[in-house]
């Protein structure tokens, strides 16, 4: 049911939240051995640094806002994917509106106030892969995901698209957390353990 408006809405300038979730039932005509649910949750907030210059100190606001976003977004992700134990891979992203700097997007996702907390809430250990950009409202951003405890697990390299139709406005930032409950539909490109040694010398033919 709909809850009362949370008290943090105003403090972080939250306008809307958008959940995108998909499950692949068949891919290339066959059902995946392990059907994965993937989801992204995007929060649209007011850019707290809109109108400030390139020397503005970002630390105070990032410390105040990023933890709230980490909690909000991971809470929605966990609920959408059936529990934190279900989540195997994760990623993060931000789209800053055209009146902001890419540094503003980075301030909300690339510091411990977001990343460490997302990792903790999703019970991961890996560094979190990311995408960021500056764009007009409605831009689609491809968000990379990898395994939350074993980042080099190749089967879990995958992406999910995030898009909010009317955001970010010029003075807004869209902050995204994303996760998957499993690998790509039919993973079969090996792994670091099965790879041969590949160098220019081991290959018979290398384009020069």
């Amino acid at each position: 049911m709909q809850e009362r408006m949370d008290h943090f809405d105003e403090s972080i300038g939250l306008r809307k939240l958008v959940l995108y979730r998909d499950v692949v039932l068949t891919e290339a005509g066959a059902a995946p051995a392990q059907p994965a649910r993937r989801a992204s949750v995007a929060a649209v907030i007011r850019n707290p640094w809109a109108g400030t210059g390139p020397t503005a100190d970002l630390s105070r606001e990032q410390k105040r806002i990023a933890p709230v976003l980490a909690s909000l977004l991971t809470g929605r992700l966990v609920a959408a994917l059936g529990g934190v134990d279900e989540i195997e891979s994760f990623g993060k992203a931000a789209i800053v509106g055209t009146a902001g700097e890419i540094e503003h997007a980075g301030a909300l996702i690339h510091t411990p106030y977001f990343g460490n907390l997302v990792r903790e809430f999703l019970q991961g250990e890996s560094i979190i892969c990311f995408a960021d950009t500056r764009a007009e409202a409605g831009e689609t951003l491809v968000v990379p995901l990898w395994h939350k405890t074993h980042a080099s697990t190749r089967s879990h390299y995958q992406t999910i698209s995030a898009r909010v139709s009317d955001a970010p406005r010029a003075d807004e930032i869209v902050v995204v957390a994303a996760a998957s409950t499993g690998p790509r539909p039919h993973p079969r490109i090996g792994d670091r353990m099965t790879d041969p040694v590949v160098t220019t010398e081991t290959l018979e033919v290398v384009a020069s």
């Binding site: 709909q2 809850e3 809405d9 939250l14 306008r15 809307k16 959940l19 995108y20 998909d22």
Partner: protein, 183 residues
């Protein structure tokens, strides 16, 4: 029926026009990406067998899913059929413009009105708007609204995206005079 994937989108609006809402405004969409039942068959004169084979199953799949995603009673609703480039819009229309499809949603939502719809042909990733109207009185102006949707890799040329949308309320900050004030 061959379903490739199911996509759920939930929008929750907290503020509009610079003002917070008294409670979050929620809209949910659930879309199924299916193989076009008439793909590769040329011009099929009689679509009825394909409609009979799939429309009810699609309604039964999507209606409970979209209400689950909304997590609240629906007050407005709508539907969509987005046909891949090799199909006819008539194919998508056939699957959604039948009581066999819509009655599942009407029954699950205790609704009575016809479902407003978008029918469109486009490439994978095409953006489409689903119109929504009130579930028991299509003249209730506060509930006229749309939700914008995009599936990143659907529909393929031989696929159709079939979707249902539900809103738990009218537009955020709705404040237009009702139709009756102009009659």
């Amino acid at each position: 029926m061959s379903v490739r994937k199911i996509v759920t989108v939930v929008e929750e609006i907290r503020a509009e026009g610079g003002r917070a809402l008294d409670r979050p405004a929620r809209i949910a969409v659930v879309a199924a990406v299916i193989e076009n039942p008439w793909a590769g068959q040329g011009f099929v004169e009689d679509l009825t067998p394909g409609i009979d084979a799939h429309a009810s199953d699609l309604g039964a799949l999507l209606a409970p899913a979209v209400l689950d995603a909304l997590e609240a009673p629906a007050e407005a609703y709508g539907k969509a059929a987005i046909v891949g480039l090799d199909g006819e819009i008539e194919h998508g229309s056939g699957l959604i413009h039948t009581l066999k499809f819509g009655d599942h949603f009407r029954k699950a939502a205790n609704a009575t009105t016809l479902l407003p719809a978008v029918e469109k042909r486009g490439p994978a990733g095409v953006v489409f708007d689903i119109p929504l109207k009130h579930i028991t009185d299509a003249t209730i102006r506060s509930h006229h609204q749309t939700v914008e949707v995009r599936l990143s890799d659907a529909p393929h040329p031989n696929e159709i995206v079939i979707a249902l949308a539900a809103a738990a309320q009218g537009r955020p900050q709705q404040r237009l005079a009702p139709l009756s004030t102009e009659q």
